[in-house]
Amino acid sequence: MDWDKEEIKRILPHREPFLFVDRIVSIEGNERVIAVKDINGDEAFFRGHFPGRPIMPGVLIVEAMAQTSLILYHVCKPEVAKTRPEYYLGRVKAEFLHPVYPGDRLFIEVKGVKITDNAGVVDALARVEDRIVARASLVFGVRKTS
């Protein structure tokens, strides 16, 4: 199964230039989602990070993980997700292992640890080919909008 960007936009409130999920390439039950983000080099952040030596900022890899987590949340809690709640990041514990460059295809894998109506705890890792470039655990909150 594959979700394209239009389908992703139906779930995520994020939009370019702050949408860091291009495709969903795997959903394993309520447990795991794998997303892809192609880093093509045109991204605005490369102009400043860094001039002449473009490297994807680690915090944006974490953002891609957080956005993929919301796809997982939608799969696990469709009734809550369809009410369009507000999502907010509560805690991130991350390790950055290798730089990500223009031309890389970033695979973001998110595994649910605990998902409830009000929050989610997930483990995430980012890969370029077979190399793990970052891993993190994330905790996010879900606030119902009235």
Binding site: G90, R91, V113, K114, T116, D117, N118, A119, G120, V121, V139, F140, G141
Partner: protein, 78 residues
């Protein structure tokens, strides 16, 4: 009641960064220790992982103290 009091306090301390000595059996996580709801979910996730149990969502609001956790784990082991 379980004899794993120290183990439970240490695990809660690791997750919340509340010093172990403040984690008395009846201190309320929210009222007395300033632990927020996201940290509470992390506590639940940590206990599920360590003790290989599933804590249903409906039970989470009842887990507010170290004593609640000890009693909950004892019940799960029965």
């Amino acid at each position: 009641m379980t004899d794993g009091l120290d183990e439970i306090r240490q695990l809660v301390s690791d997750v919340t960064e509340v010093p172990v000595e403040k984690l008395t059996p009846d201190a309320d996580f929210f009222r007395d220790l300033n632990i927020d709801s996201l940290k509470a979910i992390e506590i639940v996730a940590a206990f599920e992982k360590k003790y290989k149990i599933v804590i249903p969502e409906d039970d989470i609001p009842n887990i507010r103290t170290i004593r609640n956790i000890m009693e909950y784990l004892d019940k799960k082991r029965e």
